[in-house]
Amino acid sequence: MSFDVALIVNSIPKMLDGLELTLELLLLSSAIGLFLAVGTLLMRISGLWFLAWPAMLYIYVFRGTPILVQIFVIYYGLPQFELIRESVLWPVLREPFGCCVVALSLNAGAYVSEILRGGVLGVDRGLHEAGKALGLSAPQRFIYVTTPIAIRLAIPAYSNDFISMLKATALASTVTLMDMTGVARTIVAKTFAPYEIFIAAALIYLSMTWVIQRGFGLYERYMSRYVKE
């Protein structure tokens, strides 16, 4: 058993083929997920039971089940229903890419809405009271006081979740997609060199993680510029 460093180096370019799909999955799902998360959060904190309960159910289900199972239910499971096959969404749900984006977005929406809620809850109650005392309406307080502070508070948890999303994209390889992990598995099947290939893939993921953390770190520093040292 030899450890072929040259193989690692040579594999990295091939792995980068898969990078495009990985990034597409990550960015698309995160964007849609953020959108879903804000909507879900507003439903959750609305105080109206018929909005809050569906939101809580959605969060409960998607945080309580493995992403792999969610992908399988959507990709393998939904075609069971004629309604789906004939619907307007079929072109999206027929493709593994579409199914993965749907699954990852729904997952992101559930997790991120809880993260945002944590940020909102972290805003000092006294600031709400000051806003009330000054006569600001509830929507005004939410936009001008709560949101800027909640975002800053949510950044660390959000950046962790963003990295989890990156790692979750690897699951796309289980439904035939050629993201980085998918490409890696294909090469390993041909070369029987799991260490070198998978380690090369891991190195790329690690670099991406590092870049993401730095990026969010800078953003957090900017948002925290008014905080006492």
Binding site: G64, Y76, T181, F198
Partner: protein, 231 residues
């Protein structure tokens, strides 16, 4: 849904498998977490460096990839070793159960390192000083003051790690572990009802994660009972 009834037996045994994997993985993950935290808190630069490397690598690499490296990597290594001894051998692997448990434990253990470290540092230093001033030894301080406070601080995050670990067990089906996803796959070839069968898998996971969440919430309440407001 009646088609499911015939498969309840298999689902049950599959669920037992993932619960066993979970149990083993929890023990390993907590162990890795404690060792990692201790290393990071120690004064040795080597220990700190190793622990940091561990957490960086395993928090930044997809769980699936870790699983694949450990399983296929060890299989290749063991197979070539075995073939060196006996050329007739085709394939030797670590059983997917153990490869899987190890892989997910390594990943979650890296997160637990940070949680334990944070909880350790989060204990109000004033309390430690008070304990020392009262004459308690380092060990007594650790056992009677530090640990009770630590686990209260660690509990919420620890609960989340438990949930992650539980959900990660689904990945092990990818390397052939015969658990509930596997059962669903077989059932689908027979019944051709993929949604129903995977839905049952989701329900089983949901039930287990709900139980874990409930247990953690109960523990949190117990751990924080001394902090309830005076009326």
């Amino acid at each position: 849904m009646s088609v499911v009834v015939g498969w309840l037996d298999e689902y049950f045994w599959g669920a037992m498998v993932i619960l066993r994997v979970f149990g083993v993985a929890v023990v390993m993950a907590v162990l890795f977490g404690l060792i990692g935290a201790a290393a990071k808190l120690s004064r040795s630069r080597i220990a700190k460096g190793l622990a940091s490397t561990y957490t960086v690598i395993f928090r930044g690499t997809p769980e699936l990839l870790v699983l694949l490296i450990i399983y296929f990597g060890s299989a290749v290594t063991l197979t070539s070793l075995a073939q060196a001894l006996d050329p007739e051998v085709q394939f030797v692997d670590i059983p997917p159960f153990w490869a899987g448990a190890l892989a997910i434990a390594l990943v979650v253990g890296a997160y637990m390192t940070e949680t334990f470290r944070g909880a350790f540092l989060g204990v109000d230093h004033g309390q430690i000083e008070a304990a020392r001033a009262l004459g308690l030894s380092t060990l007594q301080t650790f056992v009677y003051v530090r640990i009770p406070q630590m686990w209260r601080l660690a509990l919420p995050n620890f609960g989340n790690h438990m949930l992650s670990l539980m959900k990660d067990t689904a990945l092990i089906s990818v390397i052939g572990l015969e658990e509930i996803v596997f059962v669903a796959e077989i059932a689908i070839t027979v019944t051709v009802k993929p949604f129903t069968m995977y839905f049952v898998v989701a329900l089983i996971y949901l039930a287990i994660t709900t139980a874990i969440t409930g247990a953690v919430a109960g523990l949190e309440k117990y751990a924080n009972r001394h902090l309830e407001r005076a009326r």
